[in-house]
């Protein structure tokens, strides 16, 4: 939060950018200015047009109208090579690294330092070390990318851009994959970079980070710039309202839980991942009726495998899973589902929907074989349509028709369709995995309220989320998962955000952690 950068020279300017895709205007007359050495946060919901705008600046798309100026010069960027030549570097949300190559090889890829026909790895490695020291980006140039953790891989991406002499950096949702501590490190790196004259466009939908790191904030909604502000003039609430276009209640309103009998009991569960390695290493859990147990943890610490085993999608190696008193260790997904278990899968397009199917078929994905949706083996289209219409209305799924393919819905509406489908079955246990990943604030608010409502109706809820804020605002109890184990189980409020973050990163915290079964 340095001073407002408006007195510094403009390094990148977009004027009246318009980009249309069939049936939609992704960017509508968008203008922005980036000053030297500032962090400009570009805030907006999924689908607001942030990525389209950045892809235009980076040369992946070409705008239909409007102009781009780099350092005062009008330019026409038609591919990423040109934008790199102009000093624009981009760190994508999904890293563009080759895992089997070393850090050095990844960084020089496409920009090799050669010595005759040979690569000059040594010289490249020296330059990488120099950059790494200059900007406080610790990374071993000779390490294999596959061996690096996510935070380090991101540093490699940033160095890659700096190595190509980028002085304008576009960071696309850079904190989505980081632990809270790694995110703090990134903020420090961004400060160092801007102090040394690099300008940064920071794309995100996380309000807290924006207020922490940005010098200026531009909010996009439905392809238009709807506001420009600075952190000292804005609050999380005001930014959320600007993003969504109405007042948003960020705090989830909920009463204290009134836990009943245990619904989900897990003892000594072990599960292997796709590479046959033990990903869940002896987990004990208990979720009672009417409470929300939140599993906090950085992605890839066994949560995915845990949920897959609980829902019958992955065999367990050892241990017992009981749902409502019934032993379901290695039961089929259908047996588990018929016990009254709903599952919001972490990857809605992979598991939760058949995206080419219309909403109608998706609305009965698990119940298609039961009356009233089928009599014998014959489907009853009428009943399916009526069911789908009811879900769409009750859960406010925005769609032109129930007969369009699910792929035509926005992420938030796809998720609402899944939530609608799962919540309208007779339920005892709800397993929600990353239920609000990548969806808009309005839908998040809605889904959070629905989860609390189910809890209050006496459903046991297991919430798995990589967003610590989501766990903190929803869970009654929190279990922290690290390297396939539950390292702590506490009542929500017993540990601070920072302490939870440390546990998520595998660190020990100074005071004793109460571990309850």
């Amino acid at each position: 939060m340095t001073q407002n950068g408006s007195d510094r020279p403009v390094v990148l300017e977009a004027r009246g950018i318009t980009k249309r895709f069939p049936g939609v205007v992704a960017n509508d007359n968008v203008s922005l200015k980036l000053h030297k050495g500032e962090v400009l946060a570009l805030l907006g919901e999924n689908g607001a047009g942030k990525s389209t705008l950045m892809n235009i600046l980076y040369g992946l798309y070409h705008q239909d109208e409007g102009e781009i100026f780099v350092k005062g010069e009008p330019i026409r960027i038609s591919n990423p090579h040109e934008s790199i030549a102009r000093g624009i570097g981009m760190v994508h949300q999904h890293f563009q690294l080759v895992p089997v190559m070393t850090v050095t090889e990844n960084i020089i890829l496409g920009n090799e330092v050669t010595n005759g026909p040979f690569l000059n790895r040594k010289q490249a490695a020296e330059r990488i070390r120099a950059i790494s020291e200059q900007y406080g980006l610790p990374v071993d140039p000779n390490a294999l990318v596959a061996d690096l953790d996510v935070g380090a891989q991101q540093r490699v991406e940033i160095i890659k851009a700096l190595y190509r002499n980028a002085d304008i950096l576009i960071l696309d949702e850079p904190t989505a994959v980081l632990t809270p501590q790694e995110a703090d490190d990134l903020v420090r790196v961004m400060r160092t970079l801007t102090m040394q004259g690099t300008s940064i466009i920071f794309i995100t939908h996380k309000l807290r980070e924006v207020l922490e790191v940005a010098d200026r904030i531009i909010v996009l909604r439905s392809g238009k710039v709807v506001g420009e502000t600075t952190p000292d003039q804005a609050t999380e609430a005001s930014l959320a309202a600007m993003m969504v276009g109405r007042e948003v209640i960020l705090k989830v309103e909920k009463q204290p839980a009134r836990p009943g009998a245990p619904v989900l009991e897990v003892r000594g569960l072990q599960v292997r991942d796709d590479r046959r390695l033990l990903a869940v290493k002896g987990v004990d859990l208990e979720v009672r009726a009417g409470e929300i147990l939140g599993i906090a943890g950085v992605q890839g610490n066994g949560q995915t495998e845990l949920v897959a085993a609980l829902t019958g999608l992955r065999p367990s190696e050892a241990g017992i899973v009981r749902i409502a008193g019934v032993d379901v260790s290695n039961a089929t997904p259908r047996q588990i589902s018929e016990l009254g278990v709903a599952h919001i899968p972490e990857d809605r397009q992979r598991d939760g929907l058949v995206t080419s199917y219309p909403l109608t078929d998706n609305s009965v994905l698990e119940l298609y074989y039961l009356p009233p949706f089928a009599r014998g083996i014959v489907r009853d289209e009428q009943a399916i349509n009526e069911h789908c219409t009811r879900l769409v209305t009750e859960f406010d799924v925005r769609t032109p028709s129930i007969h369009v393919p699910a792929s035509s819905l926005s992420g938030g509406n796809q998720q609402k369709l899944i939530v609608a489908r799962e919540f309208t079955r007779p339920l005892k246990l709800l397993i929600a995995s990353q239920p609000t990943r990548g969806i808009d604030v309005g839908s998040i608010e809605f889904i959070h309220n629905q989860i609390v409502k189910k809890r209050d109706e006496g459903v046991a809820v297991l919430l798995v989320s990589a967003e610590l804020d989501e766990i903190l605002s929803l869970a009654d109890r929190i279990a922290v998962m690290y390297h396939g184990q539950i390292v702590a189980t506490v009542k929500n409020g017993e540990l601070s955000r920072e302490e939870l973050g440390l546990l998520m990163a595998g660190a020990k915290i100074d005071r004793a952690v109460p571990v309850e079964a």
Binding site: P22, G47, S51, T355, P400, V404
Partner: protein, 379 residues
Amino acid sequence: MAQAATEAGVHPSALRQVWERWSGILVPILAVFSALVVGAFIIGITGADWQAAYIGLWEGAFGSPRAIADTVVRSTPFIICGLAVALAFKAGLFNIGAEGQLYAGAVAAVVIGTTLQMPAIFHIPATLIAGALGGAAWAAIAGFLKARTGAHEVINTIMLNYIALRMTDWLIRSKTPYILGDPADTTGARSRLIAETARLPGFQVGSSTILHLGIPLAIVLVFVIAWLLYRTTLGFEMRTAGTNPNAARYAGISVPRTIVLAMAFAGGLAGVAGAIEVSGVRGSLSADFFSGLGFDAIAVALLARANPVGIIFSGLLWGGLLTGARLMQVRASLSIDVIKIVQALIIMFVAADQIVRFIYRLPKRKPGEETQLSKGWGG
């Protein structure tokens, strides 16, 4: 592009939906047209008169009642086997094995047709059902191997084709003892004739063509399969397992069971086609009987984009091209194999439909709209 489109949340307008609906039909039609145009050039290069050739092709296929009858009879197995391939496509399986399933079904039909004695009202259904079961059992082997071990159905069905073909050959040619072979047939190339009571009824058009009961049966099968796929829970399971196996598992569908069932249904169809050819057309079986019909069925299914009703038309086209080729040969003194070139061009234009879309300025297909053929390799 795709990323941005989803990011922006595209809602296809009604007009766009109508267009997309029609482009599915337009592309195959334009592919056939393009193939004929390129074919004309090739005919021209060989020095023959392409106009005479194509007029001969048309008249040979559809120019007289007899020609039409020939085309329809010829098309029947293409339609049913095309269905066999299309049904498997819908379940995410690439059934290269229609050829082997045809032989398996035909052998079973010959066994029942030659050994049992009963009135026609029982014997005909028994023969056809035997064909269906024979083909289903044969295809289920590949389905089982895929479901159990993950062995790819493309490899397995190809191998099963060879086994079926060689086994049929042996069953017919074996003389010590005679198994299916006919001692009265000096060439030893065909099986015994099936009983008159096992032969499909029909009426004669011209000197040699019989419009048999198998023809309406093929049309009925088209609508039964369309109904199965889109109106039953079983069809829903097959399509879901084929489109998104992960979501199918999530939905509680047993994907292995669905794979075996889909292969068995597909094989059953091809087996019925084999039985119909035996009991409706020749009355016997020989090892060169189908000579690639099962492979052409892939093209038929592909041209119809695995749409059951579309297969009626692509099957008729295929049968028509083969039937008309003979008159084309006479009229333009061309090799009959030119028709194979045209067929190959059609497949090429359908498979590489981006070429067709480019030539005729059709909108690009959306991701996920790929022709089903390429899916089979996903494994």
